[in-house]
Symmetry: C2
Subunit: 337 residues, 2 copies
């Protein structure tokens, strides 16, 4: 089934969305919010599934036209947002651009950062930021929402705790990252509010594209109306979602509704570090990688980071060309404090 | 007023606690949970205050004996937990022990890490961890809970957004920190679930001890029944709470109920790095600092990290000797997965 949250109050109003994203029906009689559904998933998911079945067969009373623009992020705020960096090509590229070798342990031990989760931005809402000098970048990713995960759970156990999947725009402020990481405590100001796709879907909605804990579909990234990336999220994902979740849960339990991200999707494409769409490749899922390729090739980056007014669209189509999650489609704007 | 959450479900049941921590009354008729109260603070705080006034004057019907052991952390799970490192002496000590100078910028630019907030431990509950080899340590701190804070808010604006204060045991796994920080993305597995005091209090409950955005009272740390630290939380706090909150809100808003921590309380005591209780000083608020002093003085640490069965108690008394927040008092135990 496919779930979304209409904008309402702090946590939105839960709706069930049809497979083709054309219709929706309120699910607030079952659970007022997506978090409430996740808090009691075993009991409530079958009821949501029945409503979804009725909607998809055209038999749900009170259904209405689905509008992605009316959506908040599926969880407008969450108790946990941890982002892995499962596409090690992305990590290698970032480091190579600054002449730093990547430790070989990065192939066995996932990178993960603890994100902030109290103020996500809606999928069609502007991203307000105070300064273009911060080096504004998007990062297109896939994320899962888990059920309760016990501390120390194995990847096998974690695989059974994945309840929903979404897309992510993990907005990053590249200009703030070097100084912040140099302080040693990881990202904070350099990772402002993130954005999630209008719709969260259960793994079964992906059909054969959901295999081995990975989503085997291209992630379409359109920057200022031009295709920027179409990397396949199932390729070069060194750590699958069950492994990333197990990493997050090693020393503490995860609460129902925990969002765990894949990190920026990045394909090597049988080359050393992949190539841009303009070069005939599948392109990239963030500006930083293109700048790194440019730096590796020519000694300096040519592509600028985002300016106010720039737009970013992130979407994933299934084998039939149908949008799976709806689209993140938004503009970066100047923040007037 | 003083608020707490009785253990119940995922978010507890809100109660108002008397100033002397002897009595309590359910506040669920006003707000079912502390998060719900924070979500609509302007409207609900006056009603909670009226209930508090009635309780403190012995006129609250249905009041009952307050039991700290029945409490969850005031917010059993939260949308935001960000921990500063405002006592720069702590940072200097940590670095000195490994022969690393501290950048002078650390005196102007606060260190802060993004914590996980989906699974806090109750103040009297055991802290389950899988291995003593992880270097289990406590960190005694003060934290505030904020209202909504706009992105880019000044410290002056942030000062008016502090709704409640609590104590913290920011459990840390010292053995996992070096490798994790070397990866560059900050703490994750090395910071398991944190613990907060039974009671959260409004700033006015601190009277004259709440000044300049700091709590001017000793933080009593008792380790295995022996006094380990009594550092004054108002001294050597280089950045006050409004400054730390402003740092957290620089590039994104904070949602109501955001928890912002002070970092480990640490006093220099007119010496270079402070001294232990056994040496006549005010001692420390974590084992790591004692080990650092030992390392600085003798070349190697003598005090071991926590073993299963060890207990830690964290409390703060007002000028009259009355416990302000109740006590965190708990045992580290072996986790059986």
């Amino acid at each position: 089934m496919k779930l979304a949250s209409l904008k309402q109050g702090r946590d939105g109003e839960l709706i069930v969305v049809s497979r083709d994203l054309k219709h929706a029906v309120k699910a607030s009689g079952i659970a007022p919010t997506l978090q409430a559904a996740l808090d009691d998933w075993a009991n409530l998911a079958p009821r949501l599934q029945a409503l979804s079945d009725a909607l998809n067969s055209g038999q749900a009373p009170l259904s209405f036209t689905f509008d992605e623009g009316a959506c908040a992020s599926p969880l407008p705020r969450a108790y946990q947002w941890a982002d892995g960096s499962a596409y090690v090509n992305h990590v290698e590229l970032v480091r190579k651009a600054r002449n730093a070798d990547m430790p070989t342990s990065f192939w066995q031990d996932p990178l993960m950062y603890q994100g902030g989760s109290d103020s996500f931005i809606g999928p069609r809402d502007p991203v307000p930021l105070a300064s273009e000098d911060w080096g504004i970048d998007f990062e297109a990713e896939v994320a899962v929402i888990t059920d309760d995960v016990p501390m120390g759970a194995s990847p096998e156990v974690c695989a059974d705790k994945i309840r929903l999947l979404m897309l992510v725009n993990d907005v990053s402020l590249r200009g703030l990252i070097p100084a912040e990481l140099a302080k040693g405590f990881g990202f904070f100001q350099s990772k402002p509010s993130s954005v999630f796709s209008p719709v969260a879907v259960t793994p079964d909605e992906l059909g054969a594209a959901w295999q081995d804990g990975r989503v085997h579909l291209p992630l379409l990234v359109t920057y200022n109306q031009a295709l920027f990336g179409k990397a396949n999220a199932g390729e070069d994902m060194t750590f699958n979602f069950p492994q990333i979740i197990a990493h997050a849960a090693k020393t503490r339990p995860l609460g129902a509704g925990a969002i765990i991200g894949s990190g920026t999707v990045s394909n090597k494409q049988d080359t050393e570090h992949g190539s841009a769409v303009a070069e005939g490749g599948v392109g990239y899922s963030c500006i930083a990688e293109v700048r790194m390729i440019e730096t590796i090739n020519t000694g300096q980056p040519q592509t600028a980071f985002m300016k106010f007014g720039d737009t970013i669209r992130i979407e994933m189509l299934d084998a039939q060309g149908q949008s799976v999650f709806g689209a993140i489609d938004q503009q970066v704007v100047a923040y007037k404090g």
